[in-house]
Symmetry: C2
Subunit: 141 residues, 2 copies
């Protein structure tokens, strides 16, 4: 029963994350975006206006990575870059109308993917799971 290998948190976390990202990817595929891009849309919508770097910080990705992410979304017409009026080093990033629509649909699809992901987990454990994860992530900085 006790499999010393499979019980390693590293193994479990890695494969859990892989599985969720696959579920999320296929759930969002109809809307032409992936999970990363959806997270960026959500981060932009969450608190506007904000610079690329603020979005990057909130998502925990590098600022150089955010350039490419915004590039992709801008190419799809979902977000818009504009020079920030108060600081011309910055770009203000905002959702377009199409971006709002896509975010709404993708958020719903994302929730469905999470449901699928948690299908085998008892309802009573799900909040605990989220809470533990949040504790861990918060404790890391």
């Amino acid at each position: 029963m006790a499999n010393p290998l499979i019980d390693r948190l590293g193994y479990l976390l890695k494969h859990a994350q892989l599985r969720l990202s696959e579920l999320t990817a296929s759930a969002m595929e109809p809307y032409g975006i992936n999970g990363r891009q959806c997270a960026v849309l959500a981060a932009i919508d969450d608190r506007v206006p904000q610079s690329q770097q603020e979005v990057a910080r909130r998502l925990g990705v590098d600022r150089t990575t955010m350039v490419g992410l915004i590039d992709e979304l801008e190419e799809k017409g979902l977000v818009q870059r504009r020079p920030a009026p108060d600081d011309r080093r910055k770009n203000v990033v905002a959702l377009t109308d199409a971006g709002h629509d896509t975010l709404r649909n993708a958020t719903k699809a994302s929730a469905e993917a999470e449901q699928l992901f948690l299908a085998g987990v008892p309802e009573s454990d799900r909040a605990t799971f989220r809470r533990i994860l949040r504790t861990i992530v918060d404790s890391g900085g």
Copy 2:
């Protein structure tokens, strides 16, 4: 309180996994291996003798990836490849004495890294956390 962005499982899982892999990496650094290599050592020790492909399957990595992992461990003198007597297509992979020593040390270091990782999580929740992760990973095939 309810941060719609930060509560996404994708975000939480990704960053939790990142944090654990960092903790694990620095915990094992004194023994000259990383978390991936330690997992391979554990998988080999777990059930010997076995072929590279069996190890790969048990760890959920590709067989072509396992070639490189075994290469690294063999170069460090921790494992040994030998042609399988019953099927000469296969390599039997086994730990050397140094491999056993390293695995013992690294397993201890890994457990300490997990303790650090779970430092903020109440003792009563830790078993639940592992159980939920196992449920999720098992449900995915």
